[in-house]
Symmetry: C2
Amino acid sequence: MAPARTLDIPVTGIEARLQSRTNAWDAPTCGIALGYLQANLIVLPSRYAKDFAILCARNPVPCPLLAWSEKPGDFSSFVSHVPGVPNSKIACGIDIRTDAPRYNVYIGGKPTEQGITSIEEQWDDADHVAFLIGCSYSFENALTLAGLTPPHVLHGRNVPMYRTNIPLSPAGVFTASTYVVSMRMYKVSEVQTVRDVTRPYITTHGEPIAWGWDGMKALGLDSVCKPDWGDAPVTADGSEVVRWIEEAKADGSVPVFWGCGVTPQEAVMRAEIPGVVMGHAPGYMVVLDVKEEDVLSKHA
Amino acid sequence: MAPARTLDIPVTGIEARLQSRTNAWDAPTCGIALGYLQANLIVLPSRYAKDFAILCARNPVPCPLLAWSEKPGDFSSFVSHVPGVPNSKIACGIDIRTDAPRYNVYIGGKPTEQGITSIEEQWDDADHVAFLIGCSYSFENALTLAGLTPPHVLHGRNVPMYRTNIPLSPAGVFTASTYVVSMRMYKVSEVQTVRDVTRPYITTHGEPIAWGWDGMKALGLDSVCKPDWGDAPVTADGSEVVRWIEEAKADGSVPVFWGCGVTPQEAVMRAEIPGVVMGHAPGYMVVLDVKEEDVLSKHA
């Protein structure tokens, strides 16, 4: 038998980007380069860039804009939108066309290519604008360090995500969209601590937007059993929530909901804008040079 | 008969503040110092200041934070939260205890004094923190210049405001609050222009969050006839909407809703925080040195 391939797990943002560029790293980025910010990627034709930037400014909880292309077609220079973080600190030497492990491509709101390792061919040097948007991995690390490891992390699953009825504040062509939320189950007695731990992570969704069974209903959800994205939630013993929801209620566990970085992708898809739109493949994020401590709210 | 008192109408922010300080100006500030930003005022005990700043950061459409006290108890130095506007440009020489024409005072969420001309006695030099929050007067000027004068301006009435069911993203003690919206009626054919004209005013609520009769329902409102604050809407001929709502529908007029600066006051009242909370009296705003063109979004 051939020896198992050994792979150096990236410990910094630049290592993650360079390994993604050469396809040496071709896996989800959860758990790599701990302490470095990971980002959602959206690439749009330039004529929609202003509306999208305003959409993010108006909806910072689900759409926390970290940085965007310095000019249309520029795949390596980014303007920082994080107070106190200079442009040079976003991602040194980045090539946004290759430095996420995998990408998806959409035309007119419909997926045309999924999980490709480069968008060099699709990138328009005269027109495409890339946006980097905060991701919840950062506050998940903080929860784990506080002894509140999210259940899906404990069980190596994807976080469950749901479409809600909470409207985004519209911006230009981006209308009629709603919040997408991610969900983590906690004991009622833990909710206040969970809120306090995640509150400072303003640029990566911050504290929850709703919690408890009434909170779930207020989002327009009847159940947490069937997420729209990701895996169904699990209990502490690893069984799926579908089978134990009544026990969880008896046990005092409740769902806790955060704004989710899938929201801006949904907004772009719903707008059905013409032209080529691209993003990272879910879970295969862009790792930045920005460190978690750089973005912690000075207010919290 | 005594001659009518002649009053110089303030034409700059500093004139408005100095006349308010001496009670030479003791009227609503609508229409004075045109081109200068007017601001909602909220004063809180310092222990709630961080949560409130995060509430604003998470809900910038209804709660656009312009500036806040440099330190607890400081009534004259403000830190700017408007990109590109330095602290020194907010309000030169301001004394926030006297420079709004009128104030309201609340204790434990209940009003104790209304319409007083100074809060020097109530202000705690060791503890109070003042927040200045964007106001829609700016985009109303822009609408008027575009030939789309809001109906309430045309008829010298107060804008109608409504409590909605759209939740704010909570922050610390500020939970379970919802958007308050202001409403202006326009023809369906005018809505896109109205959106385009107000979109750049990001720090003063920006473009509408909903429009049309379906948009009204999506906010949880059954009717626009009975606002929770302000005056009932009027038609172009000055009659109240209550009497002509069916005609308005037949005529193609629809309600257009914006995030409203009453939202943060509602959030503070609902939190029922102990201690002395203060604000401007509705309509009697703080006029700043910041000019409208200083806050127009660079994205729009």
